[in-house]
Symmetry: C2
């Protein structure tokens, strides 16, 4: 496979230059190897070597390759779920603005880090029992999109089936940055995130006229959340 | 891996019950194994066995595992590209209606067949040189979305950077059915395709008011294309 990097030789026990704790060092090494070399083709030994740890030390942090993958996958949804839960509760703001803010920060998370971890969602291995937490977090995150959509003015007028379809599409649009990032790794997340959030409001049925105001309100929500 | 099927024992030379030609038999077997068992974990021997062929006979049709994957990937974009090229040329119809028709038929293609082949897009192996035809077809398909978007009324008002971003999002929205299908394999494509095409027009900036008419015109375009 001409595009994948070769797994490096064993390194010194520590990589002090990264400033990472050993657990994070393992996750960073696995993120690189799983996305460039492939999950199936990567051994726990290769991950340990890349992380500069002995295999036995790595098992102190993770029970095995599946546990590492589970931690990486959960890291792509759990922070967004926390933001989503806060946004759902901030009922003083327009639901449309909260949906904009959720989509924006979800895109930023999916585009964060040097490796496109969302690409791992489609591994056949990820269907397994071991990944129930990831699937539950992701389901709950999608449900938050649905809850915010239902609270929007156009969403309130939709029937149950239309709501379910529209929620799938909103969530799909957000996650499609995984595919976009794969094709164009140089796309700037700072441009992609607001554009995706705008598109999400359009899919929700918000008019161009209302969009300008709601986008501004969504930006303010983000600012107060991050602050 | 608890969720993957075991590769069957060697079968009789032919599987007359499927009614498929040997080449298609190989593709069907590989589609199943690559999406359920994983690409890396699947050997050409396993594909040949599942297809009911001797390995040597399989090599008569495909040079190896990469060639089989390339054929499967190209099959997910080439038919849509042909439809796209026809739609781009049908300038007597509204660009919005043509975009609706393209998105609809692209979703139907991505949801066709028993296996979610789009899941293979994100394999690290697919970055390789061997898959340039697939990447070229997919790039040309996305360019057709961009061309139709530019010809729409709201698209004509966009600057180059906004057009590029909006095209990425339109194409991403369409391809997100790969992620939607993975999470909810029972989603009916007959409902998902028009809902996605509607969402695409909303992302393009079409108003709810105009959507009803354009959706109808898009449906007519599809009917005359399929006829």
């Amino acid at each position: 496979m001409s595009t994948t990097r070769r797994v490096g030789r064993p390194r010194a026990q520590k990589r002090p230059e990264s400033g990472l704790q050993p657990r994070e060092e393992v996750l960073a090494a696995a993120a690189e190897l799983f996305t460039t070399h492939g999950y199936t083709a990567t051994t726990t030994r290769a991950v340990a070597e890349r992380a500069g740890l002995r295999q036995a030390s790595m098992y102190h942090y993770f029970g095995g390759k599946e546990a590492i993958l589970a931690a990486l996958l959960e890291g792509t949804v759990r922070p967004s779920l926390e933001i989503a839960q806060e946004l759902v509760s901030r009922t003083e703001a327009a639901a449309e603005a909260r949906l904009w803010a959720l989509c924006h920060s979800d895109v930023m998370l999916l585009c964060s880090g040097p490796h496109n971890l969302g690409a791992l969602y489609l591994l056949p291995e990820v269907q397994a029992e071991r990944f129930t937490d990831f699937h539950r977090f992701r389901r709950e995150l999608k449900a938050s999109y649905g809850e915010l959509l239902t609270a929007t003015e156009p969403g309130a007028a939709l029937g149950a089936e239309d709501l379910a379809l529209r929620t799938d599409l909103l969530f799909g649009l957000t996650e499609s940055v995984i595919l976009i990032r794969r094709t164009g790794p140089d796309r700037d997340p700072q441009a992609l995130a607001p554009a995706t959030a705008d598109a999400a409001l359009r899919v929700a049925g918000v008019t161009e006229h209302a969009l300008t105001r709601l986008r501004r309100e969504g930006g303010r929500l983000l600012a107060t959340q991050q602050g």
